[in-house]
Symmetry: C3
Subunit: 397 residues, 3 copies
């Protein structure tokens, strides 16, 4: 599995899909820098932000079983060893060495890291370095807006501005911040699905609407951005830069109303942005991945991401990936891990992808449905070629 690993990590597991180019992980997050308690480790095996039910453990999930399948061999243990043994070995090695061993075995060459999550996490370059690859930043729009708003609020606390002026300053500062970010970021990401749901008006709000909404939000108790006008405005600011825009769709933490994250709700936004030249990437998508694949089929500028869905579904990743491959044109699917916090999730995400791809495509070649040459070509597109084209990454990056 590590024949393609950029840094020559130990080749402890046979590669289920030999010949893939170095992967481009088009949506991931940093990993925690420090040591983790058993409870902290477990909390990263789920998308829930709550404890496991009494009498249960998050190790008893597909993500937990997948960690126990793929990671112990990279740390010198037997697959499926007990969680306690694994965590002991991890502590023995320390976070830096664990990270190096796990990331080094993924075969990922390029990391597009969403840096908008809190915690003592490795940054884009630091993450990539541990894996022997290259890192780029994906800028989370809501985090950017909350940072600009914090600055404006701090200035107002100092008594410098009226409410109206503050809203104007915020609007101008936000536009600048997005424009600045676009100079170096690989792309943007919106989590409007979490904050409001995807049933948003498709067109950009007027400047007056933005200022009104900003005034209300800046005066509000909660500093968390959930106003639909501002969420839409952010999406349109990002669209205006021409950088690809990633949109959270499908499952996530309990904050979400799952049916409000159905990517089909983005159809009108896809129509509205069709002429802009900016690409939209639907993240996660599950369990609406067939809907996402349909949008990628219907709209030239819409793409679908297979990450998270594969990492959390264990041996069902093949069935989920195959669901994407029903309607999505093969030039429209993108690999990612959506790894977050634990380097183990990079291992699981990449292994799940390689294994699922091998299972699905080998089966189709064996049945005579696809030629072997087509299967290899499509695999390389999903693994890296499509992301390289969409994000304008050079071969070397």
């Amino acid at each position: 599995m590590t024949a393609q690993a950029p840094d020559g990590a130990p080749d402890s597991v046979p590669d289920p899909f030999p010949g893939l180019p170095p992967l481009i992980d088009q949506h991931c997050h940093g990993v925690l820098r420090g040591d983790l308690s058993a409870a902290e480790f477990e909390s990263y095996l789920t998308e829930s932000d709550r404890p496991a039910a009494a009498g249960t453990t998050f190790f008893d999930t597909q993500a937990g079983f997948a960690v126990r399948r793929w990671c112990p061999p990279l740390l010198g243990l037997a697959p499926h060893c007990a969680p306690g043994a694994y965590l002991a070995r991890r502590r023995e090695l320390g976070p830096a060495e664990t990270r190096r061993l796990l990331l080094g075995g993924t075969g990922i060459g390029t990391y597009l890291v969403d840096t908008g999550l809190p915690g003592d996490l490795t940054g884009a370059h630091e993450t990539a370095e541990a894996g022997g690859g290259t890192g780029h930043e994906i800028v989370r729009l809501e985090t950017l807006a909350e940072r600009v708003a914090a600055g404006v609020r701090a200035a107002r606390t100092a008594g410098e501005e009226t409410a109206d002026a503050a809203a104007e300053v915020f609007a101008a500062g936000l536009a600048d911040a997005v424009r600045d970010a676009a100079r170096t970021a690989a792309g943007f990401k919106s989590v409007a699905a979490y904050r409001h749901g995807l049933a948003l008006a498709p067109e950009p709000p007027t400047a007056a609407d933005v200022v009104t909404a900003a005034r209300v939000w800046l005066a509000a108790g909660s500093h968390r951005l959930a106003d639909p006008v501002l969420l839409r405005h952010l999406m349109w600011l990002a669209v205006g830069t021409g950088r690809p825009l990633q949109l959270h769709t499908g499952f996530g933490d309990p904050d979400l109303r799952l049916h409000h994250a159905d990517p089909a709700l983005l159809t009108d936004f896809a129509h509205a942005t069709a002429g802009t030249g900016t690409d939209l990437i639907l993240l996660h998508c599950y369990p609406y991945h067939r809907q996402a694949a349909y949008l990628a089929h219907a709209f030239p500028h819409v793409y679908a991401d297979v990450g998270l869905a594969l990492g959390h579904t264990g041996p069902r990743a093949a069935a989920v990936l195959a669901g994407f491959l029903e309607l999505a044109p093969f030039g429209k699917l993108l690999f990612s891990t959506d790894a977050y916090g634990l380097p183990e999730l990079y291992t699981v995400g990449s292994a799940a992808f390689r294994t699922a791809l091998a299972e699905v495509l080998t089966g189709w070649v064996r049945a005579g449905a696809w030629s072997a040459a087509d299967a290899d070509r499509v695999a390389a597109l999903v693994a890296a070629g499509n992301a390289r084209r969409v994000y304008g990454l050079s071969e070397g990056r």
Copy 2:
């Protein structure tokens, strides 16, 4: 298949998953006590309450084929024999002997019987006895409310009360009835999905709202409870008892608007009940079982039930079960048959479950994705362990 059967019924079919503990059927109904005509028998093979289309028969369904696969051998016939031959043999044996032979071969040790359906059905203990197991009652909330309302209407007919007083009496009587039921019932069940749909306001209604709604309903022509305020009130009364609350979600008879039974619509109710200590069990779920599994993933107090979906999908039960096993933590899935009317549906439900579990888990172990020990452990949890924990059933029960 009957190695685990509590009563030593004839071992006529090899058990597809040897080593399972006696199953806990956490959602089922009584079976008809008397003889059945061919047409009556057929009408229980479908969730529809209507006749088969001209030129078709409900035997030509996955449920019909599954009955012909699993049941004839238990009555001394060849699998897949003609419906007529099977029905003739059934009449020859009589209902009691048929019931004994079929229920005795399921390997079910504990029956949680929803007793709220009409018809000359066996009760909880009577059903369990025929299968050599133990029975407990699940109280259907709407049936309970309709019974309390009937009492209040009868009293009013006798001229004893004003409309306002009747509503107050109803509200008090309902609270008492739920509290009383909780003393002996294993849990409660709501069919709000049928009566109104799951898009209900999540919080409990006020006492005044309850009385107003009750007054309107008690004066209405229809004695069928479909008022959303009263349906919510019932759910919250049940939550207040601490006993697990089963909620119908997903498919059922044509009364249903399927998209109004999407369990994702219960997300706000899950948030609202998160601190109560009461567990919610999403029944059936299909075709939204991935959504149900997501809720079980996101909320510690939410569980998902695999019954009905498996019994009605024949050899696709493995694919459906695997869909549940993508996101649902393994401590959050519960076996049931949802058998109703025909003892055959107990046979089919338990055989479908064992067969699907064996197919899915054996495949995963063979692929190296799961260890054999983990597979056995998870199978035992879904078969019985999780239900035992959630319903507080002792080992002996």
Copy 3:
């Protein structure tokens, strides 16, 4: 694969499901009469009406790969040959010979052709003749209404009528046109899902509402019928004839809001039409095919069509077909290709169906879930028997 072909076309591919009767393709369209450029050919491989994204091609889709799998052998080339080689061979043969070779190999005996699409397309009889079969017409309601409206508008342009009178003339003309069409058509088709979405009021509109809506539409700039009152009225006019009514549901071109095409939205219409004696056929259905199968399970007069979904999902057609076969009674599923423009899509649609049916049913027979005799019987029902019964086609047709 062509053992059953009515015209003895070359038997170049082994039939994956020997013994099927000649297929009844219950929903298809004409093929283009003339030569096609490469770009035109490619545009028929997708449901999108837009160009492929830069750097991608619609040949890189399941439909594209399926064409390259099934069609080259019928034109004397190797499967999976390059698109360029295939198109060159096609040009060499010319459109008539290509059509004869491709349609002759499908095993389709009866074609129910929706004639409501624009373009230089073969008609119902002409299409069938090329394949050595029999053709019947399916009348697209919206096209019929637009034709009647064009006549009324032309008369008004000549200054002959007031707006009110024109609307009355339109309403009367429409009723006549539907009644006339019913004399010869095999059935009707509604694309209300495209024009408005399926969340329509279920009951028929009043005559006054129809005239009011007609007046507005006749005066409007757009001649495309999208008024919900008129769309409903058309559906009810069709229901009144007793001929089967096909309803577009599920995926299609980007005009569609996919979630507004969920067949579950037709539940109230199914209730409202339950007593009429007219059958409803849910077309396409994907990705809501489980919902469609549920409606076919719940309502005697509702049927589901497996076409389009199979032709566009390549080797996943087996999984999609199996999804239909979970809840749909076996007397309620209908084969079609939904072929349009390219004779290749007839080849792909029929081959995908035969291959998927063989894979699914053979697997179930091998597992002991179905008897071989039942599998053959059900296959013949879905391939032809159900359509014969629903459309009242004689054995010879």
